[in-house]
Protein backbone atom coordinates (compact mmCIF):
# COMPACT_ATOMS: atom_id res chain seq x y z
CA UNK A 1 0.00 0.00 0.00
CA UNK A 2 2.75 2.39 1.01
CA UNK A 3 4.68 1.50 -2.09
CA UNK A 4 1.65 2.20 -4.24
CA UNK A 5 1.08 5.58 -2.60
CA UNK A 6 4.73 6.40 -3.11
CA UNK A 7 4.47 5.45 -6.75
CA UNK A 8 1.37 7.58 -7.24
CA UNK A 9 3.15 10.48 -5.61
CA UNK A 10 6.12 10.00 -7.87
CA UNK A 11 3.93 9.94 -10.95
CA UNK A 12 2.06 13.07 -9.87
CA UNK A 13 5.27 14.93 -9.21
CA UNK A 14 7.17 13.94 -12.32
CA UNK A 15 7.06 16.59 -15.01
CA UNK A 16 6.74 14.17 -17.87
CA UNK A 17 3.89 12.22 -16.34
CA UNK A 18 1.72 15.11 -15.14
CA UNK A 19 0.07 16.06 -18.43
CA UNK A 20 -0.38 12.38 -19.25
CA UNK A 21 -2.10 11.80 -15.91
CA UNK A 22 -4.46 14.70 -16.51
CA UNK A 23 -5.22 13.50 -20.04
CA UNK A 24 -5.88 9.98 -18.77
CA UNK A 25 -8.24 11.25 -16.07
CA UNK A 26 -10.13 13.45 -18.54
CA UNK A 27 -10.42 10.57 -21.01
CA UNK A 28 -11.74 8.21 -18.36
CA UNK A 29 -14.30 10.78 -17.14
CA UNK A 30 -15.26 11.48 -20.74
CA UNK A 31 -15.76 7.79 -21.50
CA UNK A 32 -17.77 7.27 -18.31
CA UNK A 33 -19.81 10.40 -18.98
CA UNK A 34 -20.64 9.45 -22.56
CA UNK A 35 -21.60 5.85 -21.69
CA UNK A 36 -23.45 6.47 -18.46
CA UNK A 37 -25.41 9.48 -19.66
CA UNK A 38 -26.14 7.82 -22.99
CA UNK A 39 -24.85 10.74 -25.05
CA UNK A 40 -25.37 9.73 -28.69
CA UNK A 41 -22.31 9.55 -30.89
CA UNK A 42 -23.50 12.18 -33.33
CA UNK A 43 -23.06 14.75 -30.53
CA UNK A 44 -19.92 13.58 -28.71
CA UNK A 45 -18.04 10.40 -29.59
CA UNK A 46 -16.65 8.15 -26.88
CA UNK A 47 -12.83 8.19 -26.58
CA UNK A 48 -12.82 4.48 -27.33
CA UNK A 49 -14.56 5.14 -30.66
CA UNK A 50 -11.95 7.80 -31.45
CA UNK A 51 -9.13 5.39 -30.61
CA UNK A 52 -10.72 2.73 -32.84
CA UNK A 53 -10.84 5.27 -35.62
CA UNK A 54 -7.20 6.26 -35.05
CA UNK A 55 -6.11 2.64 -35.29
CA UNK A 56 -8.38 1.69 -38.18
CA UNK A 57 -7.73 4.76 -40.28
CA UNK A 58 -4.14 5.56 -39.36
CA UNK A 59 -2.80 5.44 -42.89
CA UNK A 60 -5.32 7.95 -44.19
CA UNK A 61 -4.87 10.20 -41.15
CA UNK A 62 -1.11 10.07 -41.59
CA UNK A 63 -1.37 10.89 -45.28
CA UNK A 64 -3.65 13.88 -44.73
CA UNK A 65 -1.57 14.85 -41.69
CA UNK A 66 1.60 15.06 -43.77
CA UNK A 67 -0.13 17.36 -46.25
CA UNK A 68 -1.17 19.68 -43.43
CA UNK A 69 2.28 19.52 -41.84
CA UNK A 70 3.89 20.62 -45.10
CA UNK A 71 1.56 23.58 -45.35
CA UNK A 72 2.15 24.52 -41.72
CA UNK A 73 5.94 24.23 -42.09
CA UNK A 74 5.81 26.26 -45.28
CA UNK A 75 3.94 29.03 -43.49
CA UNK A 76 6.28 28.79 -40.52
CA UNK A 77 9.42 29.08 -42.65
CA UNK A 78 7.89 32.03 -44.44
CA UNK A 79 7.17 33.58 -41.03
CA UNK A 80 10.85 33.26 -40.13
CA UNK A 81 12.13 34.51 -43.48
CA UNK A 82 9.81 37.51 -43.52
CA UNK A 83 9.21 38.07 -39.82
CA UNK A 84 12.76 38.24 -38.48
CA UNK A 85 14.27 40.60 -41.09
CA UNK A 86 11.17 42.78 -40.83
CA UNK A 87 11.47 42.87 -37.05
CA UNK A 88 15.17 43.75 -37.26
CA UNK A 89 14.34 46.61 -39.61
CA UNK A 90 11.64 47.81 -37.23
CA UNK A 91 13.96 47.57 -34.24
CA UNK A 92 16.76 49.46 -35.98
CA UNK A 93 14.84 52.20 -37.72
CA UNK A 94 12.31 54.48 -36.08
CA UNK A 95 11.07 55.51 -39.52
CA UNK A 96 10.30 51.97 -40.57
CA UNK A 97 8.76 51.30 -37.18
CA UNK A 98 6.53 54.35 -37.55
CA UNK A 99 5.33 53.26 -40.97
CA UNK A 100 5.02 49.53 -40.49
CA UNK A 101 4.33 48.57 -36.91
CA UNK A 102 0.84 50.08 -36.57
CA UNK A 103 -0.18 48.49 -39.86
CA UNK A 104 1.11 45.11 -38.71
CA UNK A 105 -0.90 45.35 -35.51
CA UNK A 106 -3.92 46.46 -37.52
CA UNK A 107 -3.53 43.51 -39.88
CA UNK A 108 -3.56 41.12 -36.94
CA UNK A 109 -7.00 42.25 -35.91
CA UNK A 110 -8.43 41.11 -39.24
CA UNK A 111 -9.92 37.65 -38.75
CA UNK A 112 -8.05 35.37 -41.15
CA UNK A 113 -11.00 33.04 -41.59
CA UNK A 114 -12.96 35.92 -43.12
CA UNK A 115 -10.40 36.70 -45.80
CA UNK A 116 -9.20 33.14 -46.35
CA UNK A 117 -11.79 32.46 -49.11
CA UNK A 118 -10.12 35.22 -51.11
CA UNK A 119 -6.78 33.41 -51.03
CA UNK A 120 -8.36 30.62 -53.03
CA UNK A 121 -9.65 33.17 -55.52
CA UNK A 122 -6.23 34.75 -55.82
CA UNK A 123 -3.96 31.72 -55.63
CA UNK A 124 -6.10 28.76 -56.68
CA UNK A 125 -6.70 25.45 -54.94
CA UNK A 126 -3.11 24.26 -54.46
CA UNK A 127 -0.78 24.54 -51.47
CA UNK A 128 -0.22 28.30 -51.74
CA UNK A 129 -3.42 29.55 -50.06
CA UNK A 130 -2.81 27.18 -47.14
CA UNK A 131 0.79 28.30 -46.74
CA UNK A 132 -0.30 31.92 -46.82
CA UNK A 133 -3.01 31.34 -44.21
CA UNK A 134 -0.41 29.61 -42.01
CA UNK A 135 2.03 32.47 -42.59
CA UNK A 136 -0.52 35.15 -41.74
CA UNK A 137 -1.32 33.49 -38.45
CA UNK A 138 2.24 32.61 -37.63
CA UNK A 139 4.37 35.60 -38.50
CA UNK A 140 3.07 38.19 -36.06
CA UNK A 141 4.38 36.52 -32.88
CA UNK A 142 7.78 36.22 -34.55
CA UNK A 143 7.84 39.94 -35.35
CA UNK A 144 6.69 41.06 -31.92
CA UNK A 145 9.09 38.77 -30.07
CA UNK A 146 12.06 39.70 -32.25
CA UNK A 147 11.40 43.44 -31.93
CA UNK A 148 11.16 43.05 -28.17
CA UNK A 149 14.40 41.06 -28.17
CA UNK A 150 16.36 43.65 -30.08
CA UNK A 151 14.93 46.53 -28.09
CA UNK A 152 15.74 45.00 -24.74
CA UNK A 153 19.48 44.80 -25.23
CA UNK A 154 21.00 46.68 -22.30
CA UNK A 155 22.22 50.07 -23.44
CA UNK A 156 25.28 49.75 -21.18
CA UNK A 157 26.35 46.77 -23.23
CA UNK A 158 25.93 48.69 -26.44
CA UNK A 159 27.85 51.67 -25.01
CA UNK A 160 30.63 49.36 -23.94
CA UNK A 161 30.83 47.79 -27.37
CA UNK A 162 30.86 51.17 -29.05
CA UNK A 163 33.53 52.40 -26.66
CA UNK A 164 35.59 49.47 -27.76
CA UNK A 165 35.07 50.60 -31.34
CA UNK A 166 32.95 47.72 -32.46
CA UNK A 167 31.38 48.26 -35.87
CA UNK A 168 27.59 48.20 -36.19
CA UNK A 169 27.80 44.78 -37.77
CA UNK A 170 29.92 43.51 -34.91
CA UNK A 171 27.49 44.89 -32.35
CA UNK A 172 24.70 43.18 -34.21
CA UNK A 173 26.50 39.86 -34.52
CA UNK A 174 28.09 39.66 -31.09
CA UNK A 175 25.57 41.42 -28.86
CA UNK A 176 22.16 42.28 -30.24
CA UNK A 177 21.42 39.12 -32.18
CA UNK A 178 22.56 36.60 -29.55
CA UNK A 179 20.74 38.60 -26.89
CA UNK A 180 17.53 38.44 -28.91
CA UNK A 181 17.69 34.71 -29.57
CA UNK A 182 15.67 33.62 -26.52
CA UNK A 183 12.97 36.16 -27.42
CA UNK A 184 12.95 35.02 -31.03
CA UNK A 185 12.58 31.42 -29.98
CA UNK A 186 9.68 32.17 -27.69
CA UNK A 187 8.02 33.87 -30.66
CA UNK A 188 8.80 30.90 -32.88
CA UNK A 189 7.20 28.51 -30.43
CA UNK A 190 3.93 30.44 -30.52
CA UNK A 191 4.25 30.83 -34.26
CA UNK A 192 4.68 27.15 -35.06
CA UNK A 193 1.49 26.09 -33.29
CA UNK A 194 -0.46 28.93 -34.90
CA UNK A 195 0.90 27.87 -38.29
CA UNK A 196 -0.82 24.52 -37.86
CA UNK A 197 -4.10 26.32 -37.12
CA UNK A 198 -3.55 28.54 -40.15
CA UNK A 199 -2.92 25.59 -42.44
CA UNK A 200 -6.18 24.01 -41.33
CA UNK A 201 -8.06 27.27 -41.83
CA UNK A 202 -6.71 27.28 -45.38
CA UNK A 203 -7.78 23.69 -45.91
CA UNK A 204 -11.26 24.35 -44.56
CA UNK A 205 -11.84 27.07 -47.06
CA UNK A 206 -10.62 25.32 -50.16
CA UNK A 207 -8.41 22.30 -50.55
CA UNK A 208 -8.53 18.82 -52.01
CA UNK A 209 -6.48 17.20 -49.26
CA UNK A 210 -5.17 17.62 -45.73
CA UNK A 211 -6.67 17.31 -42.27
CA UNK A 212 -8.88 20.37 -42.77
CA UNK A 213 -10.45 18.64 -45.76
CA UNK A 214 -10.89 15.46 -43.73
CA UNK A 215 -12.46 17.36 -40.80
CA UNK A 216 -14.92 19.08 -43.10
CA UNK A 217 -15.93 15.81 -44.72
CA UNK A 218 -16.26 13.99 -41.39
CA UNK A 219 -18.39 16.82 -40.02
CA UNK A 220 -20.67 16.72 -43.05
CA UNK A 221 -21.15 12.98 -42.60
CA UNK A 222 -21.79 13.18 -38.83
CA UNK A 223 -18.69 11.00 -38.51
CA UNK A 224 -17.58 12.47 -35.19
CA UNK A 225 -15.11 9.70 -34.29
CA UNK A 226 -13.23 10.44 -37.52
CA UNK A 227 -13.43 14.17 -36.85
CA UNK A 228 -12.01 13.80 -33.35
CA UNK A 229 -9.33 11.43 -34.62
CA UNK A 230 -8.37 14.16 -37.08
CA UNK A 231 -8.24 16.67 -34.23
CA UNK A 232 -5.98 14.35 -32.21
CA UNK A 233 -3.58 14.01 -35.13
CA UNK A 234 -3.67 17.77 -35.59
CA UNK A 235 -2.82 18.34 -31.93
CA UNK A 236 0.01 15.82 -32.15
CA UNK A 237 1.45 17.66 -35.15
CA UNK A 238 1.33 20.89 -33.15
CA UNK A 239 3.10 19.28 -30.19
CA UNK A 240 5.71 17.66 -32.41
CA UNK A 241 6.56 20.90 -34.19
CA UNK A 242 6.67 22.73 -30.85
CA UNK A 243 9.13 20.17 -29.50
CA UNK A 244 11.29 20.50 -32.62
CA UNK A 245 11.51 24.25 -32.12
CA UNK A 246 12.36 23.70 -28.47
CA UNK A 247 15.14 21.30 -29.42
CA UNK A 248 16.48 23.87 -31.87
CA UNK A 249 16.37 26.42 -29.06
CA UNK A 250 18.40 24.17 -26.78
CA UNK A 251 21.01 23.81 -29.48
CA UNK A 252 21.13 27.50 -30.37
CA UNK A 253 20.92 29.17 -26.96
CA UNK A 254 22.18 26.66 -24.40
CA UNK A 255 23.46 29.52 -22.24
CA UNK A 256 20.13 31.17 -21.55
CA UNK A 257 18.50 31.16 -18.12
CA UNK A 258 15.43 29.27 -19.36
CA UNK A 259 17.64 26.46 -20.60
CA UNK A 260 19.76 26.39 -17.45
CA UNK A 261 16.72 25.80 -15.28
CA UNK A 262 17.27 22.06 -15.06
CA UNK A 263 20.79 22.60 -13.85
CA UNK A 264 19.82 25.09 -11.17
CA UNK A 265 17.00 22.93 -9.79
CA UNK A 266 19.29 19.93 -9.82
CA UNK A 267 21.56 21.77 -7.38
CA UNK A 268 18.96 21.93 -4.64
Amino acid sequence: MRALWKWIRWVLESDAARPLVLIAVVLVLWQIGVTSLGIPKYLIPAPSAVVDQLIGDWLRLLREGIVTTYAALGGFLLSILVGIPLAIAIAYSRTIEGFLYPILVFSQSVPKIAIAPLFVVWFGFGAIPKVIAAFLLGFFPVVVATVTGFKSVESDMLDLARAMRATRLQVFRKISFPHSMPYIFSGLKVSVTLSVVGAVVGEFVGSNSGLGYLLQMANGNFDLPLMFAGLVVLALIGVLLFILVEVAERVCVPWHISQRMDLSTAMY
Partner: protein, 333 residues
Protein backbone atom coordinates in the same frame (compact mmCIF):
# COMPACT_ATOMS: atom_id res chain seq x y z
CA UNK B 1 0.67 19.35 -1.82
CA UNK B 2 -0.46 22.68 -3.19
CA UNK B 3 -0.21 21.24 -6.69
CA UNK B 4 -2.37 18.28 -5.77
CA UNK B 5 -5.02 20.66 -4.52
CA UNK B 6 -4.85 22.60 -7.77
CA UNK B 7 -5.28 19.39 -9.68
CA UNK B 8 -8.29 18.56 -7.55
CA UNK B 9 -9.91 21.92 -8.23
CA UNK B 10 -9.24 21.54 -11.92
CA UNK B 11 -10.83 18.11 -12.04
CA UNK B 12 -13.82 19.30 -10.06
CA UNK B 13 -14.41 22.20 -12.42
CA UNK B 14 -14.09 19.85 -15.36
CA UNK B 15 -16.75 17.63 -13.84
CA UNK B 16 -19.03 20.60 -13.30
CA UNK B 17 -18.49 21.67 -16.90
CA UNK B 18 -19.27 18.19 -18.09
CA UNK B 19 -22.54 18.08 -16.20
CA UNK B 20 -23.56 21.54 -17.30
CA UNK B 21 -22.69 20.88 -20.91
CA UNK B 22 -24.61 17.64 -21.04
CA UNK B 23 -27.54 18.02 -23.39
CA UNK B 24 -30.86 17.32 -21.79
CA UNK B 25 -34.42 17.91 -22.74
CA UNK B 26 -35.02 21.05 -20.76
CA UNK B 27 -38.45 22.10 -19.74
CA UNK B 28 -39.62 24.69 -22.21
CA UNK B 29 -41.59 27.72 -21.38
CA UNK B 30 -45.04 27.31 -22.73
CA UNK B 31 -45.30 27.98 -26.45
CA UNK B 32 -42.24 30.12 -26.71
CA UNK B 33 -40.79 28.42 -29.73
CA UNK B 34 -37.54 28.61 -31.71
CA UNK B 35 -37.36 27.64 -35.37
CA UNK B 36 -33.76 27.09 -36.40
CA UNK B 37 -33.32 27.43 -40.15
CA UNK B 38 -30.94 25.42 -42.32
CA UNK B 39 -28.78 28.33 -43.42
CA UNK B 40 -28.33 32.09 -43.36
CA UNK B 41 -31.46 33.76 -44.71
CA UNK B 42 -32.16 33.29 -48.41
CA UNK B 43 -35.30 33.55 -50.52
CA UNK B 44 -36.61 30.11 -49.60
CA UNK B 45 -37.13 31.23 -45.99
CA UNK B 46 -39.76 33.83 -46.96
CA UNK B 47 -42.87 31.80 -45.95
CA UNK B 48 -41.90 31.57 -42.27
CA UNK B 49 -41.43 35.33 -42.04
CA UNK B 50 -44.71 35.83 -43.86
CA UNK B 51 -46.44 33.65 -41.26
CA UNK B 52 -44.86 35.73 -38.54
CA UNK B 53 -45.80 39.04 -40.18
CA UNK B 54 -49.39 37.99 -40.82
CA UNK B 55 -49.73 36.72 -37.27
CA UNK B 56 -50.47 33.08 -38.19
CA UNK B 57 -48.23 31.76 -35.42
CA UNK B 58 -49.61 34.22 -32.91
CA UNK B 59 -53.14 33.08 -33.72
CA UNK B 60 -52.06 29.56 -32.77
CA UNK B 61 -50.72 30.82 -29.46
CA UNK B 62 -47.13 30.49 -30.54
CA UNK B 63 -44.49 33.06 -29.77
CA UNK B 64 -42.08 32.22 -32.61
CA UNK B 65 -38.46 33.22 -32.88
CA UNK B 66 -36.74 32.38 -36.18
CA UNK B 67 -32.99 31.90 -36.08
CA UNK B 68 -30.60 31.62 -39.02
CA UNK B 69 -28.68 28.36 -39.33
CA UNK B 70 -25.19 27.26 -40.31
CA UNK B 71 -26.04 24.19 -42.36
CA UNK B 72 -28.59 21.40 -42.08
CA UNK B 73 -26.18 19.24 -40.06
CA UNK B 74 -25.78 21.62 -37.10
CA UNK B 75 -29.52 22.39 -37.19
CA UNK B 76 -30.33 18.68 -36.85
CA UNK B 77 -27.82 18.33 -34.01
CA UNK B 78 -29.32 21.30 -32.16
CA UNK B 79 -32.89 20.01 -32.50
CA UNK B 80 -31.73 16.53 -31.48
CA UNK B 81 -30.13 18.00 -28.37
CA UNK B 82 -33.38 19.79 -27.52
CA UNK B 83 -31.98 23.33 -27.78
CA UNK B 84 -34.47 24.37 -30.47
CA UNK B 85 -37.98 22.94 -30.79
CA UNK B 86 -38.28 23.14 -34.56
CA UNK B 87 -35.66 22.87 -37.24
CA UNK B 88 -35.74 23.43 -40.99
CA UNK B 89 -33.29 21.05 -42.61
CA UNK B 90 -32.46 18.73 -45.49
CA UNK B 91 -34.20 15.34 -45.25
CA UNK B 92 -31.29 13.34 -46.70
CA UNK B 93 -28.84 14.87 -44.23
CA UNK B 94 -31.27 14.14 -41.38
CA UNK B 95 -31.62 10.50 -42.44
CA UNK B 96 -27.86 10.14 -42.04
CA UNK B 97 -28.06 11.74 -38.61
CA UNK B 98 -31.00 9.59 -37.51
CA UNK B 99 -29.18 6.38 -38.41
CA UNK B 100 -26.30 7.64 -36.27
CA UNK B 101 -28.59 8.14 -33.31
CA UNK B 102 -30.10 11.63 -33.66
CA UNK B 103 -33.62 11.51 -32.14
CA UNK B 104 -35.35 13.69 -34.75
CA UNK B 105 -38.45 13.23 -36.88
CA UNK B 106 -39.94 15.20 -39.77
CA UNK B 107 -43.45 16.58 -39.35
CA UNK B 108 -43.69 18.05 -42.84
CA UNK B 109 -41.54 18.50 -45.94
CA UNK B 110 -41.82 21.81 -47.76
CA UNK B 111 -39.39 21.46 -50.66
CA UNK B 112 -40.17 18.09 -52.20
CA UNK B 113 -38.62 18.39 -55.64
CA UNK B 114 -34.90 18.64 -55.17
CA UNK B 115 -33.37 22.02 -56.07
CA UNK B 116 -29.96 20.38 -56.09
CA UNK B 117 -27.92 20.53 -59.20
CA UNK B 118 -24.89 21.88 -61.01
CA UNK B 119 -24.48 25.56 -61.71
CA UNK B 120 -22.19 27.22 -64.21
CA UNK B 121 -22.03 30.09 -66.69
CA UNK B 122 -24.14 29.66 -69.83
CA UNK B 123 -21.09 30.56 -71.94
CA UNK B 124 -19.47 27.29 -70.83
CA UNK B 125 -22.20 25.43 -72.68
CA UNK B 126 -22.70 22.75 -70.07
CA UNK B 127 -26.31 21.72 -70.61
CA UNK B 128 -26.30 17.97 -70.18
CA UNK B 129 -24.40 15.50 -68.03
CA UNK B 130 -22.21 14.45 -70.96
CA UNK B 131 -20.98 18.04 -71.29
CA UNK B 132 -19.28 17.59 -67.91
CA UNK B 133 -16.60 15.30 -69.32
CA UNK B 134 -13.21 16.95 -68.93
CA UNK B 135 -14.65 19.79 -66.84
CA UNK B 136 -13.89 20.92 -63.28
CA UNK B 137 -16.58 20.70 -60.60
CA UNK B 138 -16.40 22.60 -57.29
CA UNK B 139 -17.73 20.60 -54.32
CA UNK B 140 -17.82 20.66 -50.51
CA UNK B 141 -16.40 17.49 -48.93
CA UNK B 142 -19.21 15.72 -47.09
CA UNK B 143 -21.84 18.22 -48.26
CA UNK B 144 -25.42 17.17 -49.05
CA UNK B 145 -25.46 18.29 -52.68
CA UNK B 146 -22.14 16.57 -53.16
CA UNK B 147 -23.35 13.28 -51.76
CA UNK B 148 -26.32 13.37 -54.11
CA UNK B 149 -23.96 14.19 -56.98
CA UNK B 150 -22.71 10.60 -56.72
CA UNK B 151 -26.27 9.40 -57.39
CA UNK B 152 -26.57 11.82 -60.30
CA UNK B 153 -23.24 10.65 -61.76
CA UNK B 154 -24.34 7.02 -61.53
CA UNK B 155 -27.74 7.76 -63.06
CA UNK B 156 -26.19 9.61 -65.98
CA UNK B 157 -23.22 7.31 -66.57
CA UNK B 158 -20.50 9.74 -65.48
CA UNK B 159 -17.39 8.06 -64.18
CA UNK B 160 -14.95 9.39 -61.60
CA UNK B 161 -12.14 10.20 -64.02
CA UNK B 162 -14.46 12.03 -66.40
CA UNK B 163 -14.33 15.26 -64.45
CA UNK B 164 -11.96 17.08 -62.08
CA UNK B 165 -12.96 18.10 -58.58
CA UNK B 166 -11.86 21.09 -56.52
CA UNK B 167 -13.06 21.23 -52.92
CA UNK B 168 -13.95 24.14 -50.72
CA UNK B 169 -16.66 25.57 -48.51
CA UNK B 170 -19.85 27.21 -49.77
CA UNK B 171 -18.26 30.60 -50.48
CA UNK B 172 -15.26 29.08 -52.19
CA UNK B 173 -17.45 26.98 -54.47
CA UNK B 174 -19.34 30.06 -55.61
CA UNK B 175 -16.14 32.05 -56.05
CA UNK B 176 -14.55 29.22 -58.02
CA UNK B 177 -17.26 29.46 -60.66
CA UNK B 178 -17.26 33.24 -60.71
CA UNK B 179 -13.48 33.37 -61.13
CA UNK B 180 -13.22 30.49 -63.56
CA UNK B 181 -11.36 28.04 -61.32
CA UNK B 182 -14.22 25.61 -61.80
CA UNK B 183 -16.64 25.19 -64.69
CA UNK B 184 -19.60 24.31 -62.49
CA UNK B 185 -20.38 24.05 -58.79
CA UNK B 186 -22.76 21.78 -56.96
CA UNK B 187 -25.50 23.85 -55.39
CA UNK B 188 -29.17 24.73 -55.14
CA UNK B 189 -30.88 26.16 -58.19
CA UNK B 190 -33.01 28.44 -56.01
CA UNK B 191 -29.97 30.07 -54.43
CA UNK B 192 -26.40 30.07 -55.79
CA UNK B 193 -27.30 30.42 -59.47
CA UNK B 194 -29.40 33.51 -58.78
CA UNK B 195 -26.66 34.98 -56.64
CA UNK B 196 -23.97 34.34 -59.26
CA UNK B 197 -26.12 35.79 -62.02
CA UNK B 198 -26.76 38.89 -59.96
CA UNK B 199 -23.13 39.30 -58.90
CA UNK B 200 -21.63 38.93 -62.37
CA UNK B 201 -24.44 40.01 -64.68
CA UNK B 202 -23.68 36.90 -66.73
CA UNK B 203 -26.21 34.27 -67.74
CA UNK B 204 -26.12 31.08 -65.69
CA UNK B 205 -26.99 27.56 -66.83
CA UNK B 206 -28.12 24.81 -64.44
CA UNK B 207 -28.41 21.04 -64.61
CA UNK B 208 -30.96 19.78 -62.09
CA UNK B 209 -30.47 16.31 -60.59
CA UNK B 210 -34.24 15.88 -60.38
CA UNK B 211 -34.52 16.09 -64.17
CA UNK B 212 -32.41 12.93 -64.37
CA UNK B 213 -34.55 10.93 -61.94
CA UNK B 214 -32.45 11.74 -58.87
CA UNK B 215 -34.87 13.43 -56.54
CA UNK B 216 -34.20 13.25 -52.82
CA UNK B 217 -36.79 15.39 -51.04
CA UNK B 218 -35.14 18.49 -49.71
CA UNK B 219 -36.06 20.72 -46.77
CA UNK B 220 -38.68 20.11 -44.14
CA UNK B 221 -39.61 20.79 -40.54
CA UNK B 222 -38.18 18.45 -37.94
CA UNK B 223 -38.65 18.07 -34.19
CA UNK B 224 -37.18 16.03 -31.35
CA UNK B 225 -38.82 12.59 -31.24
CA UNK B 226 -40.08 13.18 -27.71
CA UNK B 227 -42.13 16.13 -28.93
CA UNK B 228 -44.25 13.80 -31.10
CA UNK B 229 -45.94 12.33 -28.04
CA UNK B 230 -45.41 15.02 -25.43
CA UNK B 231 -46.20 18.11 -27.47
CA UNK B 232 -48.26 16.86 -30.39
CA UNK B 233 -50.68 19.71 -29.93
CA UNK B 234 -47.93 22.32 -30.24
CA UNK B 235 -46.65 20.65 -33.41
CA UNK B 236 -50.19 20.64 -34.86
CA UNK B 237 -50.59 24.33 -34.21
CA UNK B 238 -47.13 25.14 -35.53
CA UNK B 239 -47.69 23.17 -38.72
CA UNK B 240 -51.14 24.68 -39.21
CA UNK B 241 -49.60 28.15 -39.11
CA UNK B 242 -46.68 27.07 -41.31
CA UNK B 243 -49.03 25.55 -43.91
CA UNK B 244 -51.02 28.77 -44.09
CA UNK B 245 -47.73 30.68 -44.34
CA UNK B 246 -46.54 28.54 -47.25
CA UNK B 247 -49.85 28.96 -49.04
CA UNK B 248 -49.63 32.69 -48.46
CA UNK B 249 -46.14 32.74 -49.95
CA UNK B 250 -47.35 30.87 -53.03
CA UNK B 251 -49.97 33.55 -53.54
CA UNK B 252 -47.70 36.47 -52.82
CA UNK B 253 -43.96 35.76 -52.96
CA UNK B 254 -43.43 39.52 -52.91
CA UNK B 255 -45.07 39.90 -49.53
CA UNK B 256 -43.12 36.96 -48.13
CA UNK B 257 -39.85 38.44 -49.38
CA UNK B 258 -40.69 41.81 -47.88
CA UNK B 259 -41.49 40.16 -44.56
CA UNK B 260 -38.11 38.41 -44.65
CA UNK B 261 -36.36 41.66 -45.46
CA UNK B 262 -38.22 43.49 -42.72
CA UNK B 263 -37.08 40.93 -40.16
CA UNK B 264 -33.55 40.82 -41.54
CA UNK B 265 -32.70 43.84 -43.72
CA UNK B 266 -29.22 42.39 -44.38
CA UNK B 267 -30.55 39.13 -45.85
CA UNK B 268 -29.70 40.23 -49.38
CA UNK B 269 -31.03 42.10 -52.39
CA UNK B 270 -34.81 42.04 -52.78
CA UNK B 271 -34.67 40.86 -56.43
CA UNK B 272 -32.32 38.03 -55.55
CA UNK B 273 -34.40 36.85 -52.60
CA UNK B 274 -37.63 37.13 -54.55
CA UNK B 275 -36.21 35.23 -57.53
CA UNK B 276 -35.04 32.55 -55.10
CA UNK B 277 -38.47 32.16 -53.55
CA UNK B 278 -40.14 32.14 -56.95
CA UNK B 279 -37.79 29.36 -58.01
CA UNK B 280 -38.60 27.43 -54.82
CA UNK B 281 -42.41 27.53 -54.97
CA UNK B 282 -42.71 25.13 -57.95
CA UNK B 283 -40.64 22.66 -55.91
CA UNK B 284 -43.22 22.37 -53.11
CA UNK B 285 -44.79 19.34 -54.78
CA UNK B 286 -43.84 16.23 -56.71
CA UNK B 287 -46.14 14.38 -59.07
CA UNK B 288 -47.26 12.32 -56.06
CA UNK B 289 -48.43 15.30 -54.02
CA UNK B 290 -49.84 17.55 -56.77
CA UNK B 291 -52.90 19.42 -55.50
CA UNK B 292 -52.32 18.67 -51.83
CA UNK B 293 -51.60 21.32 -49.22
CA UNK B 294 -47.93 22.17 -48.63
CA UNK B 295 -45.76 20.03 -46.30
CA UNK B 296 -47.64 16.78 -47.11
CA UNK B 297 -45.02 14.41 -48.41
CA UNK B 298 -45.62 11.16 -50.31
CA UNK B 299 -44.28 7.84 -48.97
CA UNK B 300 -42.91 7.06 -52.44
CA UNK B 301 -40.78 10.22 -52.42
CA UNK B 302 -39.50 9.47 -48.93
CA UNK B 303 -38.68 5.92 -49.99
CA UNK B 304 -36.73 7.20 -53.00
CA UNK B 305 -34.78 9.55 -50.72
CA UNK B 306 -34.01 6.75 -48.32
CA UNK B 307 -32.80 4.52 -51.16
CA UNK B 308 -30.47 7.23 -52.44
CA UNK B 309 -29.06 7.76 -48.94
CA UNK B 310 -28.40 4.04 -48.54
CA UNK B 311 -26.79 3.81 -51.95
CA UNK B 312 -24.66 6.95 -51.81
CA UNK B 313 -25.07 8.73 -48.47
CA UNK B 314 -23.20 6.33 -46.23
CA UNK B 315 -26.37 5.05 -44.54
CA UNK B 316 -26.00 1.38 -43.69
CA UNK B 317 -28.59 -0.91 -45.20
CA UNK B 318 -29.15 -2.66 -41.89
CA UNK B 319 -30.09 0.61 -40.19
CA UNK B 320 -32.21 1.92 -43.01
CA UNK B 321 -35.66 1.05 -41.67
CA UNK B 322 -38.86 2.32 -43.30
CA UNK B 323 -39.78 5.80 -44.53
CA UNK B 324 -42.22 6.11 -41.60
CA UNK B 325 -39.26 5.95 -39.23
CA UNK B 326 -38.31 9.41 -40.43
CA UNK B 327 -41.50 11.36 -40.97
CA UNK B 328 -45.20 11.70 -40.27
CA UNK B 329 -47.94 13.62 -42.07
CA UNK B 330 -50.38 13.11 -39.22
CA UNK B 331 -49.83 16.37 -37.44
CA UNK B 332 -50.49 18.39 -40.57
CA UNK B 333 -53.80 20.20 -41.20
Amino acid sequence: MMNLRCLGILLLSLLVLLTVATPSAQAQQRDKVVLLLNWYNYGEHGPFYLGLARGFYQEEGIDLEIQEGRGSGPTIQVVGAGSAQFGYADVGTAIRAVTRGAPVHFVGVLVQTSPMGLIGFAEKNIREPKDLVGKTIAMTPGGAVDTIFQAFAKATGLKEGDYKVVSGDATTKRNAVIHGQADVTTGHINDQNIFIEDATGKKVQVIRYADYGVNPVNNGILVHKDMLTKRADLIRRFMRASTRAAEGAVQSPEEATDALLKANPKAGKREVLLAGLKATIPLYHTKHTQGQRPFRVAPADMQATLDIMVEYGGVERAQKGKPEDYYTNELLP
